[in-house]
Symmetry: C2
């Protein structure tokens, strides 16, 4: 059994190495990669079916890398291992998990014990192991309470990239007014309308404010923006 570790921080990498050795005596080789790009290459060459993946690496982040790995071999088991449980990351991972794939998502702050359980759960028992905190975010993100639907999320990204309503309409094959409707839903859900009595009226530019709120709440983050920007550019150049 082979395990590939993709993690850019050397300290965390060697910690993971130890953890894998300790948790999985049946594992005979542990490979390491220091960013998403070399991670993809290593996974392809070594045919490793078990991967521990950091999100948020320079060069190429974990979500991108995981996507291409899963595209090539959808039965690869991936344990995501991240500092943050930003809604944007959780949503990003959920978007790329193939049908029936087994994966896990644990925070770097979890105990050694929990990490060990996650490693065995995902790699040996083929369970999906998701940390409580992360699970909480996932629920919130799906629960219609103040969670955004996929449609709303996509339009949020487009707006955040700086596209006009017209451009979004064209991209999404919708009428101008429909785009604006979705925007209004977004404004509602993100609770952007001003508290009456808190400063004069017209204090906020709703469009911008919605994005600001999304960023502050981590519904959106820089890495999601980068992803959006790349997609936009590639859509242009075809």
């Amino acid at each position: 059994m082979k395990v590939l570790i993709v993690e850019d921080d050397p300290l965390h990498r060697s910690y993971l190495h130890e953890a894998v050795r300790a948790a999985l005596p049946e594992c005979d080789t542990v490979l390491e990669a220091e960013n998403g790009h070399t991670g993809e290459v290593q996974a392809r060459q070594s045919r490793a079916e078990h991967v521990v993946m950091d999100l948020q690496m320079s060069e190429r982040n974990g979500i991108e890398a995981a996507r291409t790995i899963w595209r090539e071999r959808p039965d690869t088991k991936i344990l995501f291992w991240s500092n943050y449980s930003d809604e944007a990351y959780v949503r990003g991972v959920a978007r790329i998990v193939p049908e029936g794939a087994t994966y896990g998502y644990v925070l770097k702050s979890t105990s050694d014990e929990r990490l060990k359980l996650a490693l065995r759960g995902v790699f040996i028992e083929s369970q999906c192991v998701i940390d409580r905190e992360v699970r909480g975010i996932q629920q919130k993100s799906l629960g219609t309470a103040h969670g955004l639907s996929d449609a709303e999320y996509e339009i949020l990204v487009d707006v955040a990239l700086g596209l006009t309503d017209k451009a979004i309409a064209q991209r999404k094959k919708l009428s101008l007014r429909s785009v604006q409707n979705r925007l209004q839903q977004l404004y509602e859900k993100l609770d952007v309308y001003e508290d009456p009595g808190n400063g004069p009226e017209g204090w906020y530019n709703l469009r911008m404010r919605a994005v600001a709120v999304a960023l502050l709440r981590k519904v959106l983050n820089a890495s999601a923006l980068e992803r959006g920007e790349r997609e936009l550019r590639s859509a242009r150049g075809n």
Copy 2:
């Protein structure tokens, strides 16, 4: 001699602990804090004059903590130790350094040797030690080439928070038109005007696009936004 380490990641914390022990034999006590808030408290209680500070911690980030520490004792020597050299962080640190204070800024990816040199340089020799990469960002940020002036940066933050032109005018005590002028400078510097021939005209909402570009280039980041939001709220509630 006392050294206080403020760092939320336990692995990095113990690594730093070792590094301090090795680099500074004259240091008799090493204290640790796991976020900005407890860091401030520890600094106050222990009267430590030497601090190694992570930026980007939950609870209270390094810039905030450093500011209050320096406010109480401006001669404290602080070595910032961060994963990133985002322009927003570099600018954030530069904003709070008191006149004549000695500090350093090194990346977590530097070698043990360079870290050691930085520790001795800042704490013993009272030099300012700044990593090459960080220095590069600093230059770029100050060089008028495509760097933003303080005025432009501030307006960028206001826009990014979602304020209307009118609101910004009021806040900054300027006329509406002046705010719009500053915005135009911003659009120019961030190079937001579309490549003619790249899609139809009117593809971008300049206001939003400027913020998106700033985020993508790390001129602005989530932590700068949070800082702005706090300031905004406190300005409201007085």
